[in-house]
């Protein structure tokens, strides 16, 4: 790997991590805003699984419920691919969101109608929105349900500091309450989300492996021992600590937990690849963690540097590649 490629790799991984953190903040921000401002429209969950009538799985980032007959499936985007073909392919994922879906919080798990809401990064919106309109008009993009497009970004407010800004740019929601809230910009002070962020570190999207490694190394592993020393642990144990402290958004454990077993497994594999851990059983369930190994103080910098160096090794490629079954629109951003 040349120096340039190496620097690019480091930069890209930092950006991916930053984007993931921003998605978490926006999800928290939407929840906070609706909980404090809306009376009817409810933030239901951030890790739901829906099914189309044909049985395919849909995993929206956020689900809103307006009443027992309507709601919204929301997709949060931190970036879009540049080439039109890839952009269209990305947006086509929304077509599934636009079909009747099963999984709502109603008696028969269905609603009569629902909106599809797309949250685009403020830097992308002026490029994406005209394309969406064009492709909807010429039929290249077919979304049977009502589409609402919002822009969002983390911006600086001179008086408050960093805020999340959400602004509706196109379409109308089926909820009158939501439409009236959209009459003005949503400004959410990031500071009101600090405590929530400490408990909700993951959305349902798979995080970059470095991000999971950070959560495990800096927080979860502190519960293991009272000394900074090597120890043995298992995927099960690490997961159970994660379950305990990073509560599910929907308050249902198991399938809906914030942290997934596959993410922990990948993080542990990545720790092994940079020699911060070693597998001690053949079934990849138990690891020895070299907690006391002398590493750079800047933990994130240290792991990113080593992961980039190991990038060419197939071992790491496997460790960081997202699950096929969990691929969503969000994964296409990596292509951009």
């Amino acid at each position: 790997m040349s120096d340039r490629e190496f620097e690019d790799c480091k930069q890209r991984r930092l950006i991916e991590r930053q984007r993931y953190i921003q998605t978490v903040w926006l999800t928290l921000g939407l929840r906070h805003y609706l909980e404090t401002r809306a009376k009817q429209c409810r933030f239901v969950s951030a890790e739901p699984i829906f099914h189309t009538e044909q049985g395919s799985e849909i995993r929206p980032d956020v689900v809103l419920q307006y009443d027992s007959n309507s709601g919204a499936l929301c997709e949060i985007k931190t970036s879009f691919p540049i080439p039109d073909s890839l952009l269209l392919e990305t947006l086509k994922q929304l077509e599934k969101y636009g079909q009747p879906v099963i999984g709502w919080g109603t008696n028969d798990l269905t609603v009569q109608h629902h909106d599809v809401m797309l949250f685009c990064d403020i830097l992308d919106i002026n490029r994406i929105l005209p394309k969406i309109r064009e492709w909807l008009d010429n039929g290249q993009l077919k979304i049977p349900e009502n589409l609402v497009v919002c822009e969002w970004g983390i911006v600086q407010s001179p008086k408050i500091g960093d805020v999340i800004l959400v602004r509706k740019r196109w379409g109308n929601a089926r909820s009158e309450e939501l439409n009236s809230l959209f009459n003005e910009d949503w400004v959410i002070d990031l500071r009101t989300l600090i405590i929530a962020y400490e408990k909700c570190r993951f959305t349902r999207k798979e995080p970059p492996v470095e991000y999971t490694m950070e959560q495990i190394w800096l927080y979860i592993f502190t519960k293991k021992t009272e000394k900074f020393e090597a120890f043995e642990t298992s995927i099960e144990e690490t997961l159970s600590i994660a379950y305990e402290y990073y509560l599910p958004w929907s308050n249902i454990r198991g399938e809906f937990s914030q942290v997934r077993e596959t993410w922990i497994k990948k993080a542990m594999k990545a720790f092994c690849s940079i020699e911060l851990a070693k597998q001690v059983t053949d079934d990849q369930s138990k690891y020895k963690v070299f907690r006391d190994k002398e590493i750079d103080k800047d933990f994130l910098g240290y792991i990113i540097e080593r992961l980039c160096r190991k990038r060419e090794e197939s071992k790491l490629k496997q460790a960081t590649e997202p699950d096929k079954e969990q691929r969503t629109m969000g994964d296409f951003q990596q292509l951009s």
Binding site: I21, Q156, G161, D162, L190, R191, T192, I194, I195, E198, K199, E214, W217, L218, Y219, I220, F221, T222, K223, K224, T225, E226, K227, F228, E229, I241, E244, Y245, L247, R291, I295, K297, D298, F299, L300
Partner: protein, 360 residues
């Protein structure tokens, strides 16, 4: 101290300590130094923990009990340390009263700074050096001065501004006329006027001559030991214990609902308004010893960093909250000692502030 006898030493130990002080002060340039510490372990346990520390590879340490009275114990200790350039040996006394621990020595500064202070540091986290604020120093001096009816005047002052930058005010001439020296409150006022805080101050008056510092060290040049024990040494530890209460039960593991209970460190001025200060805060944290860290957000307008304390495998995050304050956010396991250590570091290397519970 609520009870009038609380700060009084039992007569036998009082006699020993005063005698040590008298003998030490008889020497030319002699002084007695007291290091104040907090420890919940008894002295034997403390020493057994110390034996595993790196410093002991170049040091030898011996001790014996010389006095015991109710809840108070006195040990005579000898220590020897070999550094790259010299070998230093000396003795000190360890006086322990419940969780209060005092090291007292009449040895020279070399022994004090190269042996006794490093040994005290190595005892962390089993024993923690007491430290207080500039305001506390003022209150201790004020009480002593009022109770004893003494006008205390200052001869040396070390103030620290943000990032630990120090400025001095010293007079070395022979004190022929005490009235030419300013009263101690002037030192505190001047320090504040220059946006600093008093870090160390040396005062004198009516047979007393001593210095006290925010890091819990008392240096006696003139005066009897028991007064310093009562008005300063004990007060240092008491005040530190009181202040550190805010760090208790912060770990999410210790809380029934696994809550997150942040602490807000407030400064007197809008320090974080300045982007260069925020940047410097990142540098200060990255220079923190025995830690690993990860920067969550480094840009404008806030700084957000995760800190992992390698001394006891615990962690917390810090975030600039507004222009005036820094938020310390405990995590799954955040020990009191790690928060004490970090707050001391901020006091030395960043700025003095006041701690409060964060109310959302």
């Amino acid at each position: 101290m609520d009870s009038p006898t609380e700060g009084v030493l039992p007569i036998d130990i009082d006699l020993i300590m005063n005698e040590i002080a008298r003998l030490s002060l008889k020497k030319t340039w002699g002084s007695v130094k007291i290091v104040t510490l907090f420890s919940e372990a008894n002295f034997e346990e403390l020493i057994s923990h110390l034996l595993h520390k790196k410093i002991m590879k170049s040091s030898e340490f011996q001790y014996r009990a010389v006095g015991r009275n109710d809840d108070l114990e006195l040990f005579h200790c000898t220590a020897f340390r070999k550094t790259k350039t010299m070998a230093i040996a000396g003795s000190f006394y360890a006086l322990q009263k419940r969780s209060h621990l005092f090291f007292v020595t009449g040895e020279r500064n070399t022994f004090f700074s190269k042996v006794l202070l490093p040994l005290s540091r190595a005892m962390f986290p089993t024993a923690i050096r007491a430290f207080v604020t500039s305001e506390d120093l003022f209150q201790f001096l004020d009480k002593f001065s009022r109770d004893r009816g003494i006008e205390l005047r200052y001869t040396e002052l070390i103030s620290r501004k943000m990032f630990g930058k120090a400025f001095f005010d010293r007079r070395h001439e022979k004190r022929t006329d005490p009235k030419t020296y300013e009263l101690f409150p002037v030192a505190f006022r001047r320090s504040k006027e220059q946006e600093g805080r008093v870090d160390r101050i040396r005062v004198f008056g009516n047979g007393y001559d001593f210095s006290i510092s925010r890091n819990g060290v008392v240096k006696i040049y003139k005066g009897e030991f028991d007064s310093f024990y009562r008005y300063f040494a004990l007060e240092f530890v008491e005040r530190a214990i009181q202040r550190w209460k805010i760090f208790e039960k912060r770990s999410r593991t210790e809380l029934p609902q696994k809550e997150v209970r942040p602490i807000l460190l407030k400064f007197d001025s809008n320090v974080f308004e300045d982007a260069s200060v925020r940047k410097e805060l990142v540098n200060v944290v990255s220079a923190y010893s025995n830690c690993e860290y990860s920067i969550i957000h480094e840009g404008n307008p806030y700084v957000y960093i995760a800190v992992l304390d390698k001394l006891d495998n615990s962690s917390f995050t810090i975030r600039t909250y507004d222009s005036y304050s820094l938020m310390v956010i405990p995590q799954i396991r955040t020990t009191k000692t790690s928060l004490v250590r970090f707050s001391k570091y901020l006091l030395d290397k960043f700025h003095e502030g006041s701690m409060t519970d964060f109310e959302n």
